[in-house]
Symmetry: C2
Subunit: 306 residues, 2 copies
């Protein structure tokens, strides 16, 4: 069995910056209303860029930041999104075509806003079984198109993309995942084919501040690690209130960037990972927990050694 | 590492039977025009049934045919389709909810008409790494909604769903896969978010009768099996002309049911598998090759011991 190592990361936020204060003005909300409730000051909206553009730009960022990294040896591309814009050829195939990567397996994963956890976990299974060596895992979402009718979603969501390149290595590195779907209350957070979002914020808050904490306890137990040895939890950036609650309940440091980007669904975890590496916040052998939760209902964590 | 065993299968075709002769009459085509070119006599169209209904009904068929099989121990549901009708919660989550399955991981795969091969291969990776024990893999597509404007697609496509239940076993059973995507010519077979299909038949024929044969040679070589020891190739049921050509080039028996169902995209391989088991055409320890090919472009084979 091979282990996985993150060897490069990238991110892309579209150009159009949207300030919370501007949304407040447009909607006659008091000053600071949005930041107080969500922790979000800015988010970015795609104007003429497609989901494909965002995904490709995140990979370009990764290539640029890593000495013009050659990605021709990528043998698997997995994408996750809740706002796909083509059924066939779907996103992963379009990324393959753009970068002209030969002999590569491609597929897209659809598993709600925490789909990035599933995509990463699938990639790890291919590496563990020596079925792939270099896997590009991309998360991208464009949520801005259909949120204007609903202030509850408008204040939260932004667009973005992030990617991680996983490599098979012989050295033993810890990797454990704990992913589950919940069959009750699956209507509290939905996205139609036209990318219309619906959210019952109260119910999502309840789910996201209870089941996540249980999930982290379980993965700590399964992994036989101590909670104090976890450097960071890197959670899906949903809402600062949810993140503060999880942080308080688990007692682990948490990386948040929701202030700058809002909730970007499948892009939030790879964007956060990219920043942690860029800002030298994590180093070789650190243990981190990635935590996804959201529509499905889907919930999952990955405890991995960097 | 655990091996995979197919322990149950099921299928569902919607109620409305559409005869090729009726399509011929409506379109002023000569008698026998469609059968001669495609090998298709009938296909089934969904009227008021959704993709979810088709998928669920295939699982119900599996349960019924297997002494009211209890599927509560399913710990993973993977679906494949090119005509998803919900971004979140997506198909696998809806199936989980319908059957009230607890503690189960769900996700959907999007990888063109041969996505079922990817879904099955992902399931095998989870079983091989002891990450799942009982995996339900469903393929379903509703292609009938947007094909009336184009006689080239109308004569070929039908709706359907099929499923396979994979179990982790300790006994060693051969399993090898060979899945690749091709980055050139990815516009020859496309499906929009509104499920509008486009096909360049000539180019698809060229791809499907050459790259498939290469892929099978490669998997035979990788597996160290002899081609004459393969009981059946179970191909994606695309068009009888393509299947006859692959059959002739490889020299292996091929199971076809396209005459009755047309091309049902992601459903075609699990429906064919279900029939092979139902008609006692394959037995324990037989070696078979599943072969998928289609939009993406995507291409993949799985050589497995039953």
């Amino acid at each position: 069995m091979s282990s996985v190592k993150i060897i490069a990361t990238g991110k892309y936020l579209p150009k159009k910056e949207i300030k919370s204060e501007d949304i407040e003005k447009e909607n006659n909300l008091e000053d600071g209303y949005i930041y107080k409730r969500t922790g979000i000051k800015t988010r970015y909206y795609s104007l003429d860029e497609t989901l494909e553009d965002l995904a490709i730009n995140s990979v370009k960022d990764m290539i640029r930041k890593n000495n013009n990294l050659n990605i021709q040896d990528v043998d698997m591309i997995v994408t996750s999104s809740t706002t796909y814009n083509n059924m066939m050829p779907s996103l992963s195939f379009r990324v393959q075509k753009y970068f002209n990567i030969k002999d590569c397996m491609c597929f897209d994963v659809l598993a709600g806003c925490s789909g990035y956890i599933n995509a990463l976990d699938i990639a790890q299974k291919y590496i563990a079984t020596s079925s792939a060596k270099n896997v590009l895992v991309i998360g991208a979402d464009i949520l801005s198109k259909n949120i204007y009718h609903d202030i509850k979603t408008q204040i939260l969501f932004g667009d973005g993309a992030g990617c991680v390149l996983l490599k098979a290595i012989k050295e033993d590195k810890k990797y454990i995942s704990n992913i589950k779907s919940f069959d009750d209350k699956n209507q509290i957070l939905t996205c139609s084919m036209q990318h219309e979002l619906f959210m019952n914020g109260k119910e999502v808050y309840k789910f996201a501040t209870s089941k996540t904490v249980e999930n982290i306890s379980e993965i700590i137990e399964k992994s036989k690690e101590k909670i104090e040895d976890i450097k960071f939890i890197i959670p899906h950036q949903s809402n600062i209130k949810i993140l503060e609650k999880i942080c308080k309940k688990t007692g682990v440091n948490m990386y948040t960037n929701i202030k700058r980007y809002g909730n970007t669904f499948c892009a939030s975890i790879p964007i956060a990972l990219d920043e942690l590496f860029e800002f030298n916040q994590i180093k070789e052998n650190d243990k981190i927990i990635l935590l996804g939760y959201g529509g499905g209902l889907n919930l999952g964590s990955i405890l991995m050694e960097v």
